[in-house]
C-alpha cells in the first residue's frame, strides 16, 4: 500500500515544478505497536510498548498530588498570559533549587546558583530541551559531533541529526552478557574526538535500565576532562531508580563539584517532568546550562531566547503551573514524593514478580534485578520478540525492551509463561 501514497502518481509538470519529492516518512515505531495492539482481538494481549505508567489495572493515572494541584489551579487561576521566552521565572528557580541545590544538600550546586552560573529555560518537555541545546551547540560549540550510548532512546539521534549535529555511538551495553560493557565504553570515549559532546543518561538508562556505579562515573568523568568532552546529561527518569528524586542525581552532584573545582568548565542538563510527575502530554521540562561565568550566563540566556522566539515564542504554562503549585506547597510536595515512590515501588514489585516466574534453566535472567526504571531490557532476539507478538499477542519493540508498567498481577503469569516458551523454542 505504501508506494501508492508516495509521489508515483505525480505526472503533471506543474506538480513536478512545484514540489521536491515528498516520500512517505516511516511511521513511529512505538505508535506502530500501539496500532497493531489495538487491532489484535486476543483478550490476553499485552502492550509493553508504551512509555507511560500504568497502574495494576493497566490504566493511566493522574498522580493524586497533581490532581490536587490542578484543582487548586482551577479555583485560583486568574490569567493565562504568555510567560517569558525562556518560560516562567518561578519554574526556572524551582528547577534550579530542586536539582542543583537538591534541598540544600548540594553545596557545590548552591554555589553555582549563587554565582549566577546556571541558566535555566523552560522547554517543551525533555525532547524540546534536547532540541534547544542541540541547536545551541551547533551554533556555539567548536565540535559538531555528539557521542550517544549504543543503544539509546531512538529519538535522541533523530533530534540531534536534525539539528545538524553529527551523532556517533559510544559502546555501552554487551548484548551477549546482558550487562554494561564498561571496558568498551571507556575505550570508545578515550577514542572520541576532543571537545565533542557526550550524551549521558543521568539514571534509568533508556532502553537498557543499566546505569553506571559511582566508581564507574568517576572513570568516565576523568576521560571527559582529559578529552575536553562537553557533557550533556539527559534526565528523563529522575526518581525512577531509587523512588526518590533527590537520590537519583549522584552524577549531577559530582559534576557540580568538578565544575566548582574548575575541572569541568561547563555542562548542560535536559530535564523532564513527563514521567516523574506523570505530566507527559503537558510538555513540561527544562534545559539548564552551567556556564563558566555570570557574564557568560547573560550571553547564553539571551542566545537561548533568540533561538526559541522564532520556534514557538514561549512554552506552555499548564504543566509548569502544576509544578509551581506543587513545589510552593510543602504538603503537596510531600504528597508528590509519596506518589512517585508508589509508582516506582509498583514497577519494582512487578519486575521482581516477573523475575521469580521466569525459567532460569534455559536463560540467565539476573540482569533483570540490576536494571532500573520503566523498562526491562530482556536480551530477547528479534525472532523471539516476533514470536511473542505473533503467538502470544505480547507487543513490544523488537530490540527486546519491555515497558514494565504494562505488566500487572493479572497478566504476569501469562507473560512469564510466554517468555519461557519462546526462550525454549529459540534456544
Amino acid at each position: 500500500m505504501q508506494p501508492r501514497m508516495g509521489v508515483r502518481g505525480l505526472s503533471a509538470s506543474a506538480r513536478v515544478a512545484r514540489w521536491n519529492e515528498i516520500p512517505l516518512a516511516p511511521p513511529d515505531k512505538i505508535l506502530g505497536i500501539a496500532e497493531a495492539f489495538k487491532e489484535d482481538s486476543n483478550p490476553k494481549k499485552i502492550n509493553l510498548g508504551v512509555g507511560a505508567y500504568r497502574n495494576n489495572e493497566g490504566k493511566p493515572i493522574i498522580f493524586p498530588s497533581v490532581k490536587n494541584a490542578e484543582r487548586s489551579l482551577l479555583e485560583t487561576e486568574v490569567e493565562k498570559e504568555y510567560t517569558g521566552i525562556n518560560g516562567s521565572k518561578p519554574f526556572q528557580s524551582i528547577v534550579q533549587n530542586f536539582i542543583f541545590n537538591n534541598s540544600n544538600k548540594d553545596a557545590a550546586g548552591a554555589k553555582l546558583i549563587g554565582g549566577n552560573r546556571i541558566v535555566t529555560a523552560q522547554t517543551i518537555s525533555g525532547t524540546g530541551s534536547l532540541r534547544v541545546i542541540a541547536d545551541f551547540l551547533v551554533r556555539f560549540n567548536s565540535a559538531k559531533k555528539i557521542y550517544v550510548p549504543k543503544p539509546t532512546w531512538a529519538n535522541h539521534i533523530a533530534v540531534f541529526t536534525d539539528a545538524g549535529l553529527d551523532a556517533e555511538f559510544y559502546a555501552y551495553y554487551d548484548n551477549n552478557a546482558n550487562d554494561l560493557d564498561f571496558a568498551n565504553l571507556t575505550k570508545s570515549l578515550e577514542d572520541a574526538d576532543p571537545e565533542s559532546v557526550v550524551l549521558l543518561h543521568a539514571c534509568c538508562h533508556n532502553p537498557t535500565g543499566m546505569d553506571l556505579t559511582p566508581e564507574q562515573w568517576e572513570v568516565v568523568l576523568e576521560i571527559i576532562q582529559q578529552k575536553k568532552l562537553y557533557p550533556l546529561i539527559d534526565m528523563a527518569y529522575q526518581g525512577f531508580a531509587s523512588g526518590n528524586p533527590y537520590k537519583d542525581i549522584g552524577l549531577i552532584r559530582r559534576i557540580n563539584q568538578l565544575v566548582v573545582e574548575g575541572k569541568i568548565p561547563s555542562y548542560s542538563l535536559c530535564q523532564s517532568f513527563a514521567k516523574n510527575m506523570g505530566l507527559y502530554g503537558e510538555r513540561t521540562g527544562s534545559i539548564s546550562i552551567v556556564t563558566e561565568s555570570p557574564e557568560q550566563s547573560k550571553a547564553i540566556d539571551s542566545q537561548l531566547k533568540k533561538l526559541i522566539r522564532p520556534m514557538y515564542s514561549s512554552p506552555p504554562i499548564h504543566g509548569s503551573k502544576i509544578v509551581e503549585t506543587i513545589f510552593s506547597n510543602p504538603e503537596l510536595l510531600e504528597s508528590w514524593l509519596g506518589d512517585l515512590d508508589q509508582v516506582v515501588g509498583r514497577l519494582n514489585t512487578v519486575r521482581d514478580k516477573l523475575y521469580q516466574k521466569l525459567d532460569k534453566t534455559n536463560y540467565n535472567w539476573d540482569h533483570l534485578t540490576k536494571q532500573r526504571g520503566m523498562f526491562v531490557y530482556t536480551g530477547l532476539s528479534k525472532e523471539q520478540m516476533i514470536a511473542l507478538r505473533e503467538k502470544y499477542s505480547v507487543y513490544a519493540t523488537e530490540d527486546g525492551r519491555f515497558s514494565i508498567s504494562g505488566i500487572n498481577d493479572s497478566n504476569v503469569d501469562y507473560l512469564a509463561n510466554a517468555i519461557n516458551e519462546v526462550v525454549r523454542d529459540f534456544k
Binding site: 502530554g281 556556564t291 550571553a299 533568540k306
Partner: protein, 416 residues
C-alpha cells in the same frame, strides 16, 4: 588545564517587546499605562480568562478519562479537526477533504512548522514576502529557517491607508511561486485590513503569478467580533470559486488571542491542497510528523483539550462567540473614546479617524519614535517604537490620561 567553551558567544539586546515589558514593570509611577502588551485587558486593566474557557476547564476536569497522557505527534484529533472547521468553514466539505492539519505550538509554532516544511519540500521560489510593516517575529521566524525574506508595501503612512498599488506591484515583480505571508484579519501592527474588493484583486494577482499564499490567522473573531466575517479572506482563497487553483494554501492558526489562551500555546497548521495534489496528503502528514517528532515529540495537551471542548460543545461555543463580542466591542468603544478625546476635547493637531477605522487589538497611531519616547519618559505611557498602541490596554480610567499625553507629545514636537 580546563578548556573553555562558547568563547564567541555575545549578549544580545532583549526582544523589543519583552524589553518594554521589563521597563514598564520597573516604572514606579502609579498611573503608568501599558499599551505595549499583545494581550486583552478588561475595563479594569486586568487579564481576562474568558467565561467560555473557565466553563470548559471545569467541564474538562470532570470528564471521565481526563488524563495527562501523551498526545499523538500530530496532536489532539478532536481539536485539530474542529480547528480546521472554524477557520475553513465546516460546511465546505470539499475544502476540508483537501486539507492536512496538525496541532502546533500556537501561531508561532505553526509559522515555524510551515516554514520548515516549505523549506524542505517547496520547489518554488525561496523568496518569502512580508507586509511592510508586520509583526516583528515574522522576519526572525522565516530568516532563521533560511528564506530570503523580503517585504511588500502595505501601509501608506501619508494617507494612513492600504497601499494597494504598491502591494499588487510587488506581487507582479516577485519571482514566480514566491511565498506571500498574508494577515488573515486584524493586521498586526496597523489594524488595517483590505476590503473584500481589495482581497479579490490581491488573490487574482497571487494566482496570476502563481505565488503561494501563507495566511497568518492570529486574530479570528477579534476584528469584527464574528468568526465568520474574520475568515473572509481565507474562504475567498480556498473556496471552489477562488482564483487560486494550482497552489497549495497554508494557514497558520492561533487561539492565543481569540480564546485568551496565550500561554497555553494552542494552534494549528492547515495545508489546503489543490485538487490534483490531494493524493499527497498522507505523505505530507507523515513529513510534518517527522519534523514535529524531531523538535518536540508531541504538542501540549491541556490547551488543545480546552479549546476542543469550546468548539464542540454547543453551549460553550455560544458562550465563546459572546465573549468574542465583549472583547471586540470594548476595544471598539475605546477606539471611539480616544479619537473623540483627541479630536473634540484636546483638538490635537492632525486627523485621528484612523484609530476608529482600524480593527483588532492594535492601532497604528502614526506617532513617531521621538513622540513614543517622550510618552514613555514624561508620561509613563508605554508603546513600541513603531507607534503601535495596544488598544486593549486602554480603559475608562486611563483613556483620558493617554489622550492628554498624546496631545502633549504631538504639540511638543510641532513646536520644535
Amino acid at each position: 588545564m580546563a578548556n573553555s567553551y562558547f568563547t564567541e558567544i555575545q549578549e544580545l539586546p532583549p526582544d523589543p517587546l519583552f524589553g518594554l515589558k521589563a521597563r514598564y514593570s520597573k516604572d514606579t509611577r502609579t498611573d503608568k499605562v501599558d499599551l505595549g502588551i499583545g494581550a486583552y485587558r478588561d475595563n479594569n486593566g486586568k487579564p481576562w480568562v474568558l467565561p467560555a474557557v473557565q466553563q470548559a476547564e471545569a467541564k474538562l476536569a470532570k470528564t471521565p478519562g481526563y488524563n495527562h497522557e501523551y498526545l499523538g505527534i500530530a496532536g489532539y484529533e478532536p481539536f485539530v479537526s474542529s480547528a480546521a472547521k472554524i477557520i475553513l468553514n465546516g460546511d465546505n466539505k470539499d475544502v476540508l477533504e483537501r486539507t492536512v492539519s496538525v496541532q502546533t505550538l500556537s501561531g508561532t509554532g505553526s509559522l515555524h512548522l510551515a516554514g520548515l516544511f516549505l523549506k524542505k519540500f517547496y520547489k518554488g521560489s525561496n523568496a518569502l514576502y512580508l507586509s511592510l510593516p508586520t509583526w516583528a517575529n515574522h522576519n526572525q521566524v522565516f530568516a532563521s529557517i533560511g528564506f530570503d525574506v523580503k517585504s511588500y508595501p502595505y501601509w501608506d503612512n501619508d494617507t494612513k491607508s492600504l497601499d494597494l498599488n504598491g502591494f499588487l506591484n510587488a506581487i507582479a515583480l516577485a519571482p514566480p511561486k514566491s511565498v506571500f505571508l498574508l494577515h488573515a484579519c486584524a493586521h498586526n501592527p496597523t489594524g488595517l485590513d483590505p476590503t473584500k474588493e481589495e482581497w479579490s484583486k490581491i488573490l487574482e494577482a497571487m494566482s496570476k503569478y502563481d505565488h503561494l499564499p501563507l495566511f497568518d490567522s492570529a486574530y479570528q473573531g477579534f476584528a469584527s467580533g464574528s468568526l465568520e466575517n474574520d475568515r473572509f479572506a481565507i474562504e475567498a482563497a480556498t473556496s471552489a470559486s477562488s482564483p487560486i487553483k494550482s497552489s497549495p494554501i497554508i494557514i497558520c492558526q492561533s487561539f492565543a488571542k481569540n480564546c485568551g489562551m496565550y500561554g497555553e500555546r494552542v494552534g494549528a497548521l492547515h495545508i489546503v491542497l489543490p485538487k490534483d495534489l490531494v493524493d499527497l496528503k498522507p505523505a505530507i502528514k507523515s513529513q510534518l510528523n517527522k519534523i514535529i517528532r524531531c523538535e518536540i515529540s508531541n504538542p501540549p495537551a491541556y490547551g488543545a483539550k480546552v479549546v476542543a471542548l469550546i468548539l464542540e460543545d454547543k453551549a460553550l461555543y455560544k458562550q465563546w462567540t459572546e465573549d468574542l463580542q465583549v472583547m471586540a466591542n470594548r476595544i471598539k468603544s475605546m477606539r471611539v473614546k480616544l479619537r473623540d478625546l483627541l479630536t473634540n476635547k484636546y483638538k490635537t493637531p492632525g486627523n485621528w479617524d484612523h484609530i476608529v477605522d482600524q480593527t483588532g487589538m492594535f492601532s497604528f497611531t502614526g506617532l513617531n519614535k521621538d513622540m513614543v519616547e517622550r510618552l514613555e519618559r514624561n508620561h509613563g505611557v508605554y508603546l513600541v517604537s513603531s507607534g503601535r498602541a495596544s488598544v486593549a490596554g486602554l480603559n475608562d480610567s486611563n483613556v483620558e490620561r493617554v489622550a492628554q499625553a498624546i496631545d502633549e507629545v504631538v504639540r511638543f514636537q510641532s513646536k520644535l
